[in-house]
């Protein structure tokens, strides 16, 4: 089985972001990482590969040239193949999902893993759209995964604290969340090996997108004004607590 993992390259969670040209972020000095939720997806794919004889793991991404390093991370963790739909154009979620779906169709997909959300635009869309274009079932917020006798069983969070178990036929899309597993770190040997693996490069045209026709686009990107510095109450605990309650009631009026 070819196990597919979709990954996205995003700025590091600790990155301080600045706006450039009013529409994009200033990429200078930014450390790029694999979207944290996609790391759970890579890990789960590798775990299944170890269990399913003859299976392979293919990581796939859509993005500019720099996104190749996200694929290298996936390869260093243990994936065998990588596909890069390379473009400098920004694509909205439906366009991205269509491109991914067409690229994945070329790979004879089994289980498709990805994160439930990317931490840059914080949407929860691509995996659901991808499922639609692949005409495959999808499970989001997945915390537990099992594969037996051609059948996938997942446990997922549906509402605050509520869980649901779903059975799915293959191919299917599994969108991972934190708690599914502990992603491994790439080993030094893995990193060395990954450097030598050729990456399959595709253009948007190769995956059926001859022209990008985004239905949603950023018009303006900006930061919020900083809050003024607050008050630190310096006193004995008993008095400080009394002062705090008074301030919350009378000044902030939130109690």
């Amino acid at each position: 089985m070819n196990i597919i993992v979709c990954v996205k390259q995003v700025p590091d969670t600790e990155a301080v972001l600045q706006v450039k040209d009013g529409k994009t972020i200033n990429e200078e000095g930014i450390k790029w990482i694999v979207n944290p939720y996609d790391e759970y997806a890579v890990e789960e794919a590798l775990k299944q590969k170890e269990k399913i004889p003859g299976s392979t793991v293919t990581v796939i991404t859509l993005g500019p040239n720099r996104a190749e390093s996200a694929l290298r991370t996936g390869l260093a963790m243990g994936a065998q193949n990588a596909v890069h739909i390379e473009t400098d154009e920004l694509t909205d979620h439906k366009t991205t999902a269509k491109a991914l779906a067409n690229a994945i169709k070329q790979e004879d997909p089994g289980i498709v893993f990805m994160g439930k959300q990317a931490i840059d635009d914080d949407s929860y869309l691509t995996h659901v759209y991808l499922a639609e274009y692949l005409e495959a079932p999808v499970a989001t917020n997945v915390l537990g995964f099992n594969y037996e006798e051609d059948k996938v069983t997942v446990e997922r969070e549906i509402d605050e604290g509520a869980r649901e178990k779903i059975e799915m036929q293959i191919p299917c899309i599994v969108a991972a969340t934190k708690g599914l597993n502990e992603p491994r770190y790439p080993s030094l040997m893995g990193i060395m090996k990954a450097k030598k693996i050729p990456i399959k490069k595709l253009t948007l045209a190769d995956v059926g997108i001859s022209e990008v026709n985004n239905k949603i686009r950023t018009e303006k990107l900006y930061s919020l004004p900083e809050k003024p510095e607050g008050k630190v109450i310096e006193d004995e605990p008993e008095t400080a607590v009394k002062t705090l309650v008074k301030l919350l009631k009378e000044e902030a009026k939130v109690l």
Binding site: T13, E14, V16, L17, V19, I25, Y37, D92, I119, D122, S123, Y124, L125, V128, E132, A136, V138, A139, T140, E157, I158, D159, E160, G161, A162, R163, E164, K165, I166, M168, Q169, C172, K178, G179, K215, I216, R217, T218, E219, L221, Y222, S223, L224, E229, G230, K231, V232, I233, P237, E238, A240, V241, K242, L244, V245, L248, K249, A252, V254, L255
Partner: protein
């Protein structure tokens, strides 16, 4: 003029405050408002649904939330009634359900976590990078769908007219996935994303058991209970409690951070809280730069004192 639709999310038959926010925002547009809800007994919500045009009520034997059935049904309603703009809540269910609806309708674009919108000028604002930045979007599609961030849009009473109620059958297609088991959530607390007050613990809480002092404070305040990534990674708290860039983004009127240092990835998840209170023994902790009120001291002393003081004041 085109109509605007609002999906009413019921939780254990309760009409959430966030539904009122979405209805108020819809009424403000001046369009005819259609509310969609899944209930066999819509009359119980008559008061909350006053002042709108139509209620589309989905009725059936089993209305337990199922994303496929709900998604297919909403997609059918939106296209049939031509609800060109359609609103929901950016709650756990909204995040699960709305993408499925948008996927089903070819000419639909969904924007999640919307904090401000102007239909006429086609401007939709949403925080990105967990709120480090804000982005104004333009949507050029036949159907525009939004999930609204809770606690942002004001609730306004208005209108006395009783809407017409239209019944609708749930759409049940052959499912590609089969639900084999549903476990209901145990927590009696409010959803974090919709909570008005949140008490949150970080690494400084030191153990899972110690979270009980935060629970007592949360009980007095009727608050949700959150945690930092450090506390979740140390297994003092569960992931559904995590606030931050890789957890939940929250927006309460009061956020009490206990033993949380204030790393940027946590801060961005709660920075839009109206008032932030920090309790931490390290006076150099970055959280004090971001809090409206801070107490430097031992949280194991201060939190119980605070609980007592609030009990006295009730």
């Amino acid at each position: 003029m085109a109509n605007i639709g609002v999906y009413i999310e019921l939780k254990d038959d309760q009409f959430k405050k966030s539904n009122k926010e979405a209805l108020s925002a819809a009424k403000k547009t001046g369009k005819d408002v259609y509310a969609v809800l899944f209930s066999n007994n819509p009359d119980q919500y008559a008061d909350q649904l006053k002042g709108i045009t139509k209620v589309i009520c989905v009725k059936g034997d089993d209305l337990t939330y199922d994303p496929t059935v709900y998604g297919d049904t909403l997609a059918a309603i939106i296209t049939q009634f031509e609800l060109k703009d359609f609103l929901g809540i950016h709650s756990a269910q909204g995040k699960d359900l709305f993408p499925r609806v948008a996927a089903k309708i070819e000419n639909a674009t969904l924007l999640g976590d919307c904090v401000c919108f102007d239909l006429e000028n086609n401007t939709f604002t949403k925080p990105v990078y967990a709120g480090k930045l804000l982005s104004d979007f333009v949507i050029e599609d036949e159907y525009r769908m939004l999930t609204l961030r809770p606690n942002v849009f004001p609730v306004e009473e208005g209108g006395a007219d009783t809407p017409e109620i239209v019944d609708f059958e749930p759409v049940k297609k052959e499912a590609k996935g089969k639900i084999v088991e549903v476990v209901k959530g145990q927590s009696k607390r409010v959803d974090l994303t919709e909570a008005e007050i949140i008490v949150s613990g970080g690494r400084g809480i030191k153990s899972k058991e110690n979270f009980s002092i935060l629970e007592e404070l949360a009980d007095v305040l009727g608050a949700g209970l959150g945690a930092s990534r450090a506390a979740v990674d140390a297994e003092y708290a569960t992931y559904d409690m995590q606030v931050g860039q890789t957890g939940k983004v929250v927006n309460p009127k009061l956020y009490i951070a206990c033993g949380i240092s204030g790393a940027i990835q946590h801060f961005v998840g709660m920075k839009t809280s109206k008032v932030i209170v920090a309790i931490n023994k390290d006076s150099e902790a970055p959280i004090f730069k971001k809090a409206d009120y801070g107490i430097v001291g031992d949280l194991f002393k201060i939190v119980p004192l605070l609980t007592e003081e609030l009990k006295k004041n009730q």
